[in-house]
Amino acid sequence: MFERGALAAMGTRFEIVAAGAPASQLRASIEEALEEISLCHQRWSPFSPSSMLSQINRSQGEAVAVDGLTMELLSQCQRWHDDTAGVFDPCVGHLLSERDPRRSGHEDSGILKNASRDSTFTGLTNVDINVAKNSIRLLQPYLQLDLGAVAKGFAMDLATDILRDAGVPSAFLHGGNSSISTIGHPPGATAWKVQLPQSSEVLELRDQSLAVSASKGQYAGEHLLNPITEEWIDAESGGYWVRSNSAAESDAWSTALTVNSGFSESIQFSMPDDMDWGPLRMATSSNANEKTSKVSVVKSDHWSFLPTESEDKI
């Protein structure tokens, strides 16, 4: 009944299950959707020196012509940045590089962090996003972009569009169990049901997306940055889920809500009317490896195909 495919990309595991069409059609649709995700990884991986993102981060003030999807994603980032009063900010790549030397441009940031830095760090206002010229220019020499908060969701939106265009009536896509996109409903049920982490709360998804973001990282400790103060968000400060019509939107807003919860004085911004959200229940365990931002899918008699907790340790 179900066809299933998976892909390792963007530092996580993407998985698609689909139903409601001939197996060969589902298989071909899943392959094309996963290939699109793979292309997104190639564009926006901070670990690959040849990615579009790395080329931007190495540009040192020069305008870089980019492909249409990179421009679309960065334009959306600009909107999220504005709508969250700067709480959502992809201009933290140079700070992440200081913790993770595998990131491209690390050598450059090592050189440039000694340069005088603008004391009024204001995120995306330091990036010239020129839609007419299809180019990106970093206006501060030390600045580096990181799209980790939204690239996953954006890729899943593209993959979902491919499945829809291919006539797939029923599908569930997830990236690392923390970003989810759905088409229709599973056979024999009215909606895809998702259980939130550390909770018995179940959310229903039907042609909707869900993202969860938590201040405690997947494997250890703090992993989110306060873009205003450039300090790491306390790992115990909390997390949020967001349900909307777009996985990228859910990713961006859940990240913004979680980052904002780590501020000593929260910044005021309005959530869009067409999405709902809520806080995550935080684990009380002191186990640093406990995964707090993983959702699990509620099984039914008709569809029990997603990884169980034990399988999810791949």
């Binding site: 298989r27 071909a28 392959e31 020196p49 012509a65 492909d67 050189i111 491919i162 291919a166 006539g167």
Partner: protein, 409 residues
């Protein structure tokens, strides 16, 4: 600079270490005229990939054309300012400002589109293989020869900086004499296209139809065979082939796994394997020489020296790497400059996809009136070899290729 195993894996260098051959990144700065007006016919995966490289190069994609509505919509999303057409003739008649057209449609549609573009006075970049039949390939080559405009076949090795550098070593004592050749392309993929209706599925699955497909040897092999044509300056004289549907037993007749032996005139042999059933090893070509071997994998290339080969002057700049049981050295041209910038690691792989360099060369040829690196003749001969290799698989036997077969007219 030390490069550890993890870095090596992250950079996708594959399972072998050796001497990585790479030109300096700065050497390949492009000087394409901004806003050069182009159009793309065919907005499937390849057409969209071409669009992305054109955008990076600063060209102006004026128009997109595809008779498949979802694909045209997908292309339009990526190139927001482009006008979209579902008919190529209408696009060519309307978009007079377009200087060059990229033909990225299914192979069997190339001939009619090449004719239309030549009639409209456009430069043409045509994906390879050029055609699904020898007759169409000859017609395309003939039409291109009769045009005053640029015609480039989409065989990317000849524009790839890694391959160019390797070829420069091929012609020296560092390689010495060709011993043998081997290549593979391995993916796990049904080769079916995602489609919402049976009619659309049948149209998009042209690679699985015997009447329109050149199979794995044509669709994939053509690109890889041309590497050996280009390096050796030779074309095979006979091809032995066999193949089968090993994995995707869904009623298809086109083999999903093929094995080929392409023989050349002095006993050289290229062994080639392609499959849709297993992705191990991916896509690469290997040339064995008396003094060294090259492994070329599109974004990366390595040279493996024989112990008795003379030490090269450039080895002093190379990084030493250990990977499994092999220790090799990673060389990047302009290594001194890159090292001074602490960018040696950045230089291990090409900064762009191979397609970027092919598209860039084409635009340069169009703007400067220069002959393309891969013209219609090279495209025709590679296509002919691909078609012959496919025939060898279909017939499960041997196909002879005479010098006359390689003549365009």
């Amino acid at each position: 600079m030390e490069t550890d195993r993890r870095d090596f894996l992250i950079q996708g260098a594959g399972a072998l270490a050796g001497v990585a051959l790479l030109p300096g990144l700065d050497t390949f700065a492009r000087t394409i005229q901004d806003d050069y007006p182009v159009a793309i016919i065919g907005t499937g995966r390849q057409g969209r990939a071409v669009a992305a490289e054109l955008q990076k190069l600063g060209a102006q994609i004026v128009a997109l054309c595809d008779n498949d509505a979802p694909r045209l919509r997908s292309g339009g999303r990526r190139v927001k300012d482009a006008k979209t057409y579902d008919d190529a003739d209408k696009m060519l008649a309307t978009e007079k400002s377009v200087e060059a057209v990229f033909i990225c449609t299914p192979t069997h549609q190339h001939r009619a589109l090449v004719d239309a573009c030549i009639a409209a006075g456009k430069h043409i970049y045509c994906e390879a293989p050029l055609a699904h039949t020898v007759e169409d390939a000859k017609a395309i080559a003939s039409a291109a020869r009769g045009s005053s405009k640029v015609f480039q076949a989409g065989l990317l090795a000849r524009s790839n900086p890694v391959y160019s550098l390797a070829r420069s070593f091929y012609r020296t004592e560092a390689f010495l004499k060709l011993v043998s050749m081997r290549a593979q392309n391995a993916r796990k993929d049904s080769w079916r296209q995602a489609a919402s209706t049976a009619e659309r599925q049948a149209r998009l699955d042209w690679r699985l139809h015997e009447s329109t497909s050149t199979g794995l040897p044509g669709e994939w092999g053509t690109h890889q065979f041309d590497v050996f044509h280009w390096f050796s300056g030779k074309y095979p004289v006979r091809i032995h082939g066999n193949g089968a549907v090993r994995v995707w037993d869904d009623g298809r007749k086109v083999a999903d796994t093929v094995n080929l032996a392409l023989e050349f005139d002095q006993g050289e042999c290229l062994e080639y394997q392609a499959t849709l059933g297993n992705s191990f090893g991916g896509r690469y070509e290997v040339l064995h020489g008396v003094n060294s071997a090259f492994k070329l994998a599109w974004s990366h290339g390595w040279m493996f020296k024989e112990a008795d080969a003379a030490t090269q002057g450039w080895e002093v700049y190379a990084n030493r790497q250990r990977f499994f049981n092999d220790e090799g050295i990673t060389l990047i041209a302009d290594a001194t400059q890159l090292a001074s910038q602490n960018k040696l690691k950045d230089g291990v792989g090409l900064p762009h996809d191979s397609l970027y360099y092919g598209v860039s060369d084409f635009l340069t040829s169009c703007q400067e009136g220069k002959a393309p690196k891969t013209g219609a003749s090279e495209g025709f001969r590679a296509t002919l070899v691909g078609i012959a290799a496919h025939r060898a698989v279909v017939e499960g036997g041997t196909i002879e290729i005479s010098p006359d077969d390689l003549k365009e007219a």
